[in-house]
């Protein structure tokens, strides 16, 4: 009997085109669009040298140290891409946008910019750092410091930030994590379809099933296995697509990635289970409900705008804690940036607890065999 139920359950699910589309094809299409538009957009290690105009006036010509400084930071893959021009030419280049700023050597260093942004901030940092260091050296020399004392002071810097992340940080993966989260939750459609087929007040097939001598618990178990196996496999397909076709790097902890996907699949399946168990709306209405709730959860976990995730964590942390989409994306974060850790396991545990609670509630409702109305 179990084999008979599972065999036909696999057949009906794998031939349901709308389920196949929403659970497998749609996330792949979305990932493809994201890949085309977002991949590499947030790579911090691809900073281009800032184009800057250096005014070649008399002060510049006389300051060897400053010339040496500019030359050093303008070498291959350096911070600046300088153009040595007259003041008039510099103004023209700034106006046309060919350079981001003008550095003019006077008694001090003047920086002129037209707008604000990352490049302009870099120019400001460079000029400020030069001024600080050059004044420091002048003071030390005026106080009679020798070369060794000079070098010791120059190298005596304290960095108050500790890097705790892995290398090759790529912020665009955030969007792909939310696709995985969304797809996990969409997977609730598989189990929802199963439950509607075997529950008398949800479909005519359910009436026929309930009149048969098959125990409901048997059917629920078979459907649970079939739906979750299909969901897990479809998640693996999506993951393989993201890694091998889109080229997203999820790190190298395969077993923990699978664990995250398993937790996400169960969470989605449990949501589908609860939505189908509660109320007697038509199957199409319940599907729309699941899609709507999934989209909302994905939005709150940063799918459309990354900032939303941080706002929710800052102003409504309880929502972040109970949102399974957030649990999934956060688990992937933890894996990617920190290689796992307690934060990762907290999220995984939360996913399993979330799933357990929803399954429990839905099975309490679904185990009944008689209804007030059909």
């Amino acid at each position: 009997m179990m084999w008979h139920l599972m065999k036909y359950r696999f057949k009906t699910l794998l031939k349901d085109r709308s389920l196949l589309f929403f659970s497998i094809l749609f996330p792949i299409v979305l990932a493809t669009f994201f890949g085309m538009t977002l991949k590499g957009a947030y790579n911090v290690d691809t900073l281009k040298p800032v184009e800057v105009a250096i005014v070649t006036n008399e002060n510049y010509d006389q300051d060897q140290a400053f010339q040496e400084f500019i030359k050093t930071i303008s070498q291959e893959d350096g911070l600046l891409a300088p153009r040595y021009v007259s003041e008039k030419e510099a103004e023209s280049l700034l106006e046309s946008g060919d350079v981001k700023g003008i550095i003019t050597k006077t008694e001090t260093i003047l920086l002129k910019v037209k707008s604000s942004g990352i490049d302009q901030t870099i120019l400001k940092t460079v000029t400020d750092e030069y001024l600080v260091k050059s004044h420091m050296i002048e003071n030390l020399l005026a106080n009679g410091a020798d070369f060794q004392q000079l070098m010791a002071t120059m190298n005596d810097t304290t960095n108050y930030l500790q890097s705790n992340s892995t290398d090759n940080v790529n912020l665009s993966v955030i969007f792909f994590y939310t696709i995985i989260a969304m797809s996990s939750l969409y997977g609730g459609n598989w189990y929802m379809r199963c439950i509607c087929d075997t529950t008398a007040n949800l479909s005519d097939r359910g009436i026929r099933f309930n009149v048969s001598p098959v125990k409901k618990s048997q059917a629920l178990l078979c459907d649970f296995i079939a739906a979750n196996v299909i969901q897990f496999v479809s998640m693996l397909i999506l993951l393989a697509y993201l890694i091998f076709v889109i080229g997203i790097d999820f790190g190298n902890q395969i077993s923990l990635i699978f664990l995250t996907i398993l937790g996400g699949s169960l969470a989605g399946s449990s949501m589908g289970s609860l939505i189908s168990a509660v109320g007697t709306q038509a199957y199409q209405v319940k599907t729309s409900l699941l899609v709507g709730i999934t989209m909302l959860m994905s939005f709150l976990s940063g799918m459309m705008m990354v900032q939303v995730k941080y706002y929710v964590q800052a102003y409504a942390p309880i929502i972040a804690k109970i949102n399974p989409a957030n649990m999934i994306t956060d688990a992937f974060y933890s894996l990617y940036y920190y290689g796992g850790g307690s934060r990762f396991y907290m999220n995984i545990a939360s996913l399993f607890i979330f799933s357990g609670i929803l399954y429990f509630i839905s099975f309490i409702i679904l185990r009944r065999k008689q209804y007030d109305s059909l």
């Binding site: 005519d204 097939r205 001598p213």
Partner: protein
Amino acid sequence: MIIHVEQLVKRYKDLIALDHFDLDVQEGEVLGLLGPNGSGKTTAINCMLSLLKYDKGKIELFGKPMTANSYDIKRDIGLVLQNVAVFDELSVEENIDYFCGLYIYDKAQRQRLVNEAIDFVELNDFRKFRPKKLSGGLLRRLNIACGIAHRPKLIFMDEPTVAVDPQSRNSILNGIRRLNKEGATIVYTSHYMEEVEEICSHIVIMDNGKMVAQGTREQLKAMISLKEKIEIDQIKLSSQQLDAIRDIANINEVQYYGEHLEVKCNGGDHNLVNLLDYFKENNIDFGMIYSKLPTLNDVFLEITGKELRDQG
């Protein structure tokens, strides 16, 4: 007794769907459950199948109390629903195999039964077709096959011929006769009196959740005063002539509208002859004339004051 229902009461909030409903069905019968929409036929069946909770009463099938956990009883029951309840993703053969497999675990036996069911409903040419490719009549046949493939002893058929073409309907009704011949007891609900008259050995008429009459076709018709109905088209009559017709023996009701005359007789064997004699004596011309015996609709009308046809 295959089915024994005693004083069944089912309420939906303030609405009484079944009002102390009684029913007894003998083994081998084809019982027709007749009544207009909303009379409680489907509710009665769902209660008997333990799908619905009920407020009061007793239900026994095969001599045993019927509950939702009566899996041994459920093994001998088949259900043909009013709506088609099959999987769109499975073929005809797969659908029948799936539902048969809920009752029959042995694969070889099930394969044989599936083949027999497909033969029975004459869907051999459509084995590999999916439901979406089938016409309405063929879908109904598939629906029946899914409900009877496991050879149940008791079959509930809830309006199985709704929206079906006449050819398919005849095929379905013939199939029901064959099932009964092979030993199945059938409870057949419908609001089509012609079907019920044609195949049912025993008829129960329901209205407002109650049984209002039961018996064979002849017993039910004998319950009412109407014995014959005569209709005449394209006839022109004056009020004096209508009064004269009313005075003819055994005629108890006359209706005349738009050159159509309807005469109801409560007895007598020569009502038609008497009427024709009157028309001849008075040189009254007419178009068509036909005499009909009372139908179940007339039975229902006389007992309840309402038409049996769909009341919208």
